[in-house]
Symmetry: C2
Subunit: 250 residues, 2 copies
């Protein structure tokens, strides 16, 4: 009898809409014996997942790291998917998975995913780069305690994208203004990018903190800061829902 | 008779591997009457595309912008896909498409794609962010003539990703060192990320220019600069081919 060889796929699920999962990501999920995810993906994604494999939804603090569960299952010959929201290597913990997998000499591959940063931009038609106003993009963590040099960020002549900075938003905006970014710089805060209940609040570095608070914006958010926000149909509207695509019956 | 309504989907194709196209991207391609792309996607992608729709491969200088072809076809009631390599809003010209579509009042949506930046990172197991050595990512254009403040970039305490900077690589590295980034900073240059013939050359800011030249690295490339490169199995190898995923027969 041939020995079944275990394998771990570290997969980027995309930002939440199952339609933004890649072909390779879907194939890995379809062939998996075990899918380990962090519970953030929600019902829509759950329903779109293939039904066969065993799934582990990991929420809260665990005594064991997900990657070690994956390694143990792979040693028993299983095909495992470690599923991350967005892209595994962009603020998602895929780096720790890979460290663990390499140390354990477990076979693995990484399947990239659509980041919530580009998904938020696409959904609200805000280009992250544009010939005349943004030569590049800086993607920064907004969570409390993240070590970010906001003085340096304020001086970047391009688009700033802050991931997961919902509660810190007012403090981040104040710092950027204090370090020289004009208070009139346009800002869009996108809540739950790509989900059916996503929404956006727009303003400026000077007023977005208050606007987001009044609109009761909740995590997860992507905040896009820069002149590119002016190019979106968002501008001048407090909240905005993107146009839904017409369905064509086959 | 009901009037057929035209629609334009601005779609991110991902970096080249058709397996990195999203479910929504594939659906848009399958339902399209016309697909307009820039010819960069290559044979593998062509083969994976649905066969039915008319396709226009646009290469070289055209008398008319692709978006205006798309608008004209949409006015005749067609469903059109404007297909971009990577993500439409990250150095891909999707911003100009959207400007044209808005001015023409043509219905559209943008479907984000996997960027070559995250695909290159995934393929060679280089995390773009890692808890202890990279709090964020700066994505910059490497093409000749792009206005980038390399002095500012050199001082970023995170990962730098340079898109499409193949010919400019030695000059970019020299500038980063001149502006204070250590010459020993690890660098990986990834050629044709996600394609079956992709490869990577690794080195440091001090020597990668020469190494890439000797290895005859060609466009398109993604260059990852920063301590995160040390975390990859790449380090210490001049060239590296990622482990291929075992196929399991159903």
């Amino acid at each position: 009898v041939a020995v079944k060889k275990g394998f771990v796929h570290v997969v980027g699920a995309g930002p939440g809409d199952p339609g933004l999962l890649t072909q390779r990501g879907l194939e890995a999920l379809e062939k998996a014996d075990l899918i380990i995810h962090d519970g953030l993906l929600g019902d829509a994604f759950e329903k779109a997942l293939p039904r066969r494999p065993m799934r582990l939804s990991l929420e809260g603090d665990l005594a064991v790291e997900p990657v070690h569960l994956a390694i143990a299952a792979a040693r028993e010959g299983r095909r495992v998917v470690l599923l991350h929201v967005g892209d595994p290597f962009l603020f998602a913990g895929g780096d720790e998975d890979v460290d663990g997998l390499r140390k354990a000499r477990t076979a693995y591959e990484i399947i990239p995913g659509v980041s919530a940063a580009t998904a938020a931009a696409a959904e609200y038609a805000i280009p992250l780069t544009a010939a005349e106003c943004a030569q590049g993009v800086m993607v920064l963590p907004g969570r409390k305690g993240a070590e970010v040099d906001w003085r340096h960020a304020a001086r970047f002549e391009g688009t700033l994208v802050v991931m997961m900075g919902t509660s810190e938003l007012p403090a981040i905006c104040r710092r950027l203004v204090r370090f020289g970014r004009p208070a009139a710089t346009p800002v869009a805060v996108i809540e739950r990018a790509s989900w059916s209940d996503s929404r956006a609040v727009v303003g400026t570095l000077g007023d977005i903190g208050g606007k987001a608070k009044r609109a009761k914006v909740r995590s997860p958010t992507v905040t896009i800061i820069g002149e590119v926000v002016r190019r979106s149909p968002l501008l001048g509207q407090r909240r905005y829902k993107p146009r839904r695509v017409p369905k064509r019956r086959p």
